[in-house]
């Protein structure tokens, strides 16, 4: 076992520090060390988006980032999306539109969609489809997910 590295980061608005091996992915540390299991492992090689998180607002696959790389950065995971005591418009619209079946890909889709709406508040359907093309859902055929994101964009504007 290799030596541990000490990492300090801001996670969902709180200062967090942890020890990790240099080989450990951010996904592994989030899930195994920090107990945040909302980011899911679907493929562990960047093809499915189920582990999407934000680093300084940028969308990444946590399985493709080494945990040591988040030193001094600001992380947002699915657990940090909702405002206190409520739901984010994306979370609410995913429920309203029945945009999930098994729900396993849902955290990744919501984090990815948040990154889109943060930079493009009123995306077109095509922009939503282009942005979410890195996230796999096997249950829904995407129709309801795209509609939920469009509805959340509309809700945030009103």
């Amino acid at each position: 076992m290799s030596a541990m590295t000490h990492v300090q980061t801001t996670l969902n608005g709180e200062a967090v520090e942890f020890l990790c091996e240099p080989r450990q992915s951010l996904l592994e540390v989030l899930r195994e060390t920090l107990g945040l299991t909302g980011a899911k492992e679907g493929c562990n090689n960047g093809n499915c988006g189920a582990c999407n998180v934000l680093i300084d607002g940028a969308l990444v696959n946590a399985c493709l980032v080494l945990a040591v790389e988040v030193q001094g950065r600001t992380l947002t995971t699915i657990e940090g999306i909702a405002p206190p005591g409520g739901l984010h418009p994306l979370q609410r619209q995913f429920l309203e539109h029945a945009a999930l079946q098994c729900g396993f890909c849902t955290p990744g889709f919501i984090v990815a969609a948040k990154a889109l709406l943060d930079r493009t508040p009123r995306p077109s359907e095509l922009e939503v489809r282009q942005w979410l093309a890195g996230n796999l859902c096997r249950c829904t055929g995407y129709d309801r997910i795209v509609r939920a994101v469009l509805a959340a964009a509309e809700e945030a504007q009103t």
């Binding site: 076992m1 091996e21 080989r23 899930r31 195994e32 107990g35 945040l36 299991t37 909302g38 980011a39 899911k40 492992e41 679907g42 493929c43 562990n44 090689n45 093809n47 499915c48 189920a50 995971t77 699915i78 657990e79 999306i81 909702a82 739901l87 994306l90 979370q91 995913f94 429920l95 309203e96 539109h97 029945a98 999930l100 079946q101 098994c102 729900g103 396993f104 890909c105 849902t106 955290p107 919501i110 939503v128 489809r129 282009q130 979410l132 093309a133 890195g134 996230n135 796999l136 859902c137 096997r138 249950c139 829904t140 055929g141 995407y142 129709d143 309801r144 997910i145 795209v146 509609r147």
Partner: protein, 754 residues
């Protein structure tokens, strides 16, 4: 939504409440199998075969056992040796010895990725490093990768003891053909003599995977008294309990299975892979909990894909547009062990049509690929791809509209299938008419290289064992415990059926999925059975609760129970009146808690029919196919939870389109899987699809209290054929191979040009 028969008025069924597990699933709190973490937990890794076919001569685990942090190593020697015994697995059966050998290979490895040994260590990295140190000495054998090659007399034999089940008789020679089935009706030769047009075609389809996003996982703890607890991702906790008990020779009462939230299954999470290994490792490591999770590579290489196939179809029709005869031969890959879905495929292939003279043959053939598992309407997509493209060609040759031709020959109540079984009330004709009058079909499609295709589909659905129980709370709410794992909103669909039965709003009923120690036996969430069968158990629970509560009200009012009426949430007797909540608040002084439970095994499931319409545009230079518009029409019987019915239709359509255009297992000549990742096994993404339109038709199933038919599986039956028919209208070639990937389409276009 169109309703064919006289509609029944429902208050809760047909509404769209938010699902009860929804907030947990949009906030990341829902606990899936791999999210579990127990004190002292170890992590497992599995060593898998690099060969498709080889004899295991020796396994040396000493280096792995000596690796720092390793607590246990197991091989097939740690599994009890089992006699041949066939177990019903739901949507398929399997010989238990084969299943044990699939958990850990004993004498031979039969596919690339076949599990050979497993390790438990203090962390996943140590377990993987140790597994890589296990030395396996193989005698590599020639692999058999194609069903027709496997059927040749000189083919290498996978299973030395296998004999063909030849129409019920056991064969005598070693073989790769596990079974040969036959259904016949009428006089086939006479039927073809009566035909004015005959079409005969051959088809091949590639092996494809269910593609659930959550990999298989299992965590087990064996305590010092031998009691086993398993937390896992499964479609059916009782099935895991039974299979694990059989494979490990344990009484089922020693095993408690706690089903975690499940990240998709589609049939692929019915059989066990990791659960017995986790139990063995926990036992051998001194009773520590052990978690095993598969990598995506392991999922693709070693868990149930569904069969590739070879299918030959011949159909004839007369000038009046009536189908006179139909013949099919279906040869399905079972994978390494017998048990392909060829039987259900035989049931699907001509199911939508009245065919007086027919012959359908099926062969179940083992090859050196992973043992296949159920995948949503198992075998149906391949079969319908073949028959529905031939039906389309017949309609074309007769100059008939493809939907009108299907309507003319479509089955209804009283018509018989090839196997002789007569249909009860079914909704095919209503579905076809709804497709004809849909906005999509009524809108002309124009433009070069564009085409519209249609196809119909059948799935038999299933009933099976289901149990539920409920208790009335003092605040007037009801807590429901049910045995069906919730993969796509079924908790809520079941709570809705209890609320409807009790005349309560959905907010008054809360459903929970129970573990195997907490509810009666319930088959898995497969066979489109949950809303139908577990819904029926829930209905019975509701009836019992009403009876008991009427007795309590009678006690309060000092009248006979028969003098109490209950409707729409209110008990009455003469002038006396109590709401459900008012009575619930007084139960403590009227005899105590009110609890009811019910178990059912209904046989009156009704088949589901679907018709799909698709518009495509082809780029003739690259062979890329873009789906422009898609509409799925389906009979749901009664759509209990319509958003989620429509979502099943959309999801099945999307999987079917992926099967049609992209997905396939690619093996090299040695049987090594070359695309065991999602970059190379490409599933559809957002950009590949348009919005997916749905039309729900409701022809109530007379065999269910609310008219429910299963809805989950039939949506994957028509898509491949519908896309193939659309491609033909677009560019004039009839594709006979799945997937209709760009390279194959370009080759077909070039072949046509000569």
């Amino acid at each position: 939504m169109t309703t064919a028969d006289k509609p029944t008025e429902f208050k809760v069924l047909g509404s769209t409440p938010l699902r009860q597990d929804g907030v947990d699933k949009v906030t990341g709190r829902a606990q899936y199998g791999a999210d579990i973490r127990l004190p002292g937990m170890l992590y497992g890794a599995v060593l898998r075969s690099p060969h498709a076919h080889a004899r295991i001569k020796a396994i040396d685990t000493r280096a792995a056992e000596a690796y720092p942090g390793v607590r246990a190593v197991v091989t097939a020697q740690d599994l009890p040796e089992l006699e041949s015994k066939v177990a019903d697995l739901g949507e398929g059966s399997m010989n238990l010895r084969y299943q044990s050998n699939n958990i850990l290979a004993r004498d031979k490895v039969l596919y690339f990725g076949h599990a050979v040994a497993a390790v438990a260590a203090v962390n996943a990295h140590a377990a993987e490093a140790a597994a890589a140190l296990i030395q396996v000495e193989y005698e590599v054998l020639p692999p058999v990768l194609d069903v027709r090659q496997a059927m040749r007399p000189d083919a290498p034999i996978l299973l030395a003891e296998l004999r063909t089940d030849e129409l019920g008789q056991k064969g005598e020679q070693p073989t790769n053909v596990a079974a040969h089935y036959l259904d016949e009706a009428g006089d086939l030769e006479q039927g073809f003599r009566e035909a004015d047009v005959v079409v005969e075609r051959e088809f091949t389809t590639a092996m494809v995977h269910q593609g659930y996003i959550e990999p298989q996982n299992a965590t087990a703890l064996v305590t010092a008294d031998g009691q086993v607890t398993i937390w896992c991702s499964t479609q059916g906790a009782f099935g895991v309990r039974e299979q694990t008990a059989e494979i490990l020779r344990l009484p089922v009462s020693k095993i408690r299975v706690i089903p975690m939230e499940i990240g998709g299954g589609f049939g692929g999470k019915i059989g066990v892979y990791l659960e017995p290994l986790a139990v063995l490792l926990s036992r051998k490591s001194g009773h520590r909990p052990v978690k095993l999770t598969m990598s995506r590579r392991d999922v693709l290489a070693a868990t149930g894909p569904t069969s590739g196939s070879y299918i030959k179809v011949k159909m004839g029709a007369n000038r009046a547009g009536q189908i006179t005869a139909a013949q099919a031969t279906l040869i399905y890959e079972a994978g390494a062990y017998p048990g392909s879905p060829v039987g259900s495929a035989m049931g699907v292939i001509f199911a939508p049509y009245r065919i007086p003279n027919a012959r359908v043959e099926g062969y179940d053939v083992v090859v050196n690929k992973p043992r296949t598992a159920a995948y949503r309407a198992p075998g149906g997509t391949n079969a319908a791809f073949a028959s529905e493209t031939v039906v389309d060609e017949l309609a074309e040759k007769l100059g008939l509209d493809p939907l009108a031709f299907r309507l003319q020959n479509g089955v209804q109540e009283g018509d018989r299938r090839v196997n002789g079984v007569a249909y009860k009330r079914i909704g095919l004709l209503e579905v076809l008419r709804a497709a004809q009058s849909s906005a999509h079909y009524q809108t002309p499609l124009a433009g070069p290289n564009r085409g519209r295709g249609v196809a119909a589909g059948y799935w038999g659905n299933y009933g099976g064992k289901s149990s539920a129980s409920a208790s009335v709370n003092a605040d007037g709410t009801v807590s429901l415990q049910e045995g069906s794992v919730d993969i796509g909103g079924s908790r809520t669909a079941l709570a809705m059926q209890l609320a409807e039965t009790l005349g309560l709003p959905i907010e008054a009923v809360r459903a929970a999925v129970a573990d195997t120690d907490a509810v009666g036996e319930t088959e898995g969430t497969y066979g489109s059975r949950t809303t139908f069968a577990t819904g029926w158990a829930v209905y019975e629970v509701g009836q019992q609760l009403k009876t008991q509560l009427c007795e309590r009200a009678a006690r309060l009012w000092n009248v006979a129970a028969e003098q109490v009426q209950y409707a729409a949430g209110v008990f009455t007797s003469g002038e006396q009146r109590l709401t459900f909540a008012e009575l619930a608040a007084q139960l403590d002084r009227l005899g105590g808690p009110v609890v009811a439970s019910a178990a059912v095994q209904p046989k009156t499931w009704g088949p589901g029919f679907a018709a799909h319409i698709v518009d495509v545009e082809v780029d003739p230079e690259t062979g890329k196919v873009q789906v422009l518009r898609y509409t799925a029409v389906q009979d749901a019987g009664k759509a209990v939870y319509p958003n989620y019915v429509a979502s099943q239709m959309q999801g099945g359509a999307a999987q079917g389109i992926g099967w049609a255009l992209n997905e396939e297992y690619v093996y090299d000549a040695q049987g090594r899987l070359l695309n065991a990742n999602w970059l190379d096994y490409r599933m559809l993404v957002t950009l590949d699809l348009p919005m997916l339109e749905t039309v729900i038709v409701e022809v109530p199933n007379p065999g269910h209290p609310f008219g429910v038919r299963g809805v989950g599986e039939v949506p994957i039956v028509p898509p491949a054929a519908a896309v193939a028919n659309a491609l033909y209208r677009a560019v004039g070639v009839r594709m006979a191979e799945l997937p209709m990937a760009p390279g194959r389409l370009v080759a077909a276009l070039q072949a046509r040009q000569g």
